[in-house]
Symmetry: C2
């Protein structure tokens, strides 16, 4: 997710300035080597102001994660005029498509932060919220497809849960192991066709 979709070009609000600096630092150093001092290097004002806002790295990063969800919530890049099938295909193209270097670096940082959620309940709550939001977004598209009569009468929540787990897994394997996202995309297209597109089967 590129910086210009996450942050205004010249944020006036100090919190947003700190979060934008956090984003830049995450791209540069990743989660493990992130320090408030390093964030300070990307922050136009004094580093002491960062300490004034946040008690430490974890409090800052939890606010960063919560900001990401709010921002993505406010602007899920879905074409609201498109039909449900187009919306779903575009979303899948975006999350399973090629990624530029910035997005790849950001994904690495997110995967590192997600791993904190294995032991830290505050991180876990943030990621559970994220999972919930993203699942609801997909379920709403599927639900609309059913209402439009283009999608079969499936369980939107189950379909959304599955697509989201698949997207998460692809992202995690991309940054930590081995996966061919285009193979995933091809199979998801087959799943969408076989599972969701009732009209085409009938005609």
């Amino acid at each position: 997710m590129p910086q210009d979709t996450l942050f205004p070009a010249e944020p006036a609000d100090t919190r947003i300035q700190i979060l934008a600096a956090t984003y830049e630092t995450l791209l540069e150093t990743g989660y493990a080597d992130l320090t408030i001092e390093r964030i300070g290097d990307h922050f136009p004002k004094s580093t002491s102001l960062v300490y004034h806002h946040y008690e430490g790295k974890d409090e800052l990063l939890l606010d960063f994660l919560s900001y990401l969800i709010e921002t993505v919530e406010a602007d899920v890049a879905i074409d609201r005029d498109a039909d449900a099938r187009t919306q779903l295909e575009e979303l899948l193209d975006r999350v399973l498509g090629t990624t530029d270097d910035e997005t790849a670096a950001f994904h690495r940082a997110i995967v590192e932060m997600r791993a904190q959620a294995t032991t830290d309940p505050d991180y876990r709550r943030q990621f559970a919220d994220h999972d919930q939001f993203f699942r609801d977004t997909i379920a709403a598209i599927v639900d609309r497809g059913i209402e439009e009569g283009t999608f079969c009468d499936v369980d939107p929540a189950a379909v959304a849960t599955t697509l989201q787990a698949l997207i998460t897994g692809t992202l995690v394997q991309r940054t930590t192991g081995d996966v061919d996202p285009s193979a995933v995309r091809t199979e998801v297209a087959a799943y969408v066709e076989g599972r969701l597109l009732c009209e085409e089967r009938r005609s």
Copy 2:
């Protein structure tokens, strides 16, 4: 994965003793708080012997991961006499089914270790090998199903890549966020039926 399937009850080999102690310590403390000293507490011999075998925590854990792959490779719990469909369904039941506390703790440790692969090429190589092995296992089952005439003429590698990403994502969300594995299992059953089971559709 329970300890008794990973390690012999009373391993004679020092390396295996160390790796079994590592497993127990990972369940107890997770990755982040793991130290050679703590592993020493679970090791029947002197902790200095652990240092004699490994330069540090990361070298030990990389050998641990490599042992896991070897062991799982030697004993993928697949019923070799079953047909491809049964093998695939049993594998999916196992990885998407309920997990006991020990398995859940082990999964948390694995997710923490996987996150190291975002920045550490040695970890990344181990997880890429793991991904490759697991994908090959699934692809071999799909391939056999095609040969048996029960599965359609799909691309076994693409199906395997997709199922594996889905399994990884479910595991990661289970330990770090929110997911309903039973919803995933239901949709995977629909995918297997719609995408793989040609015979049933024809009859």
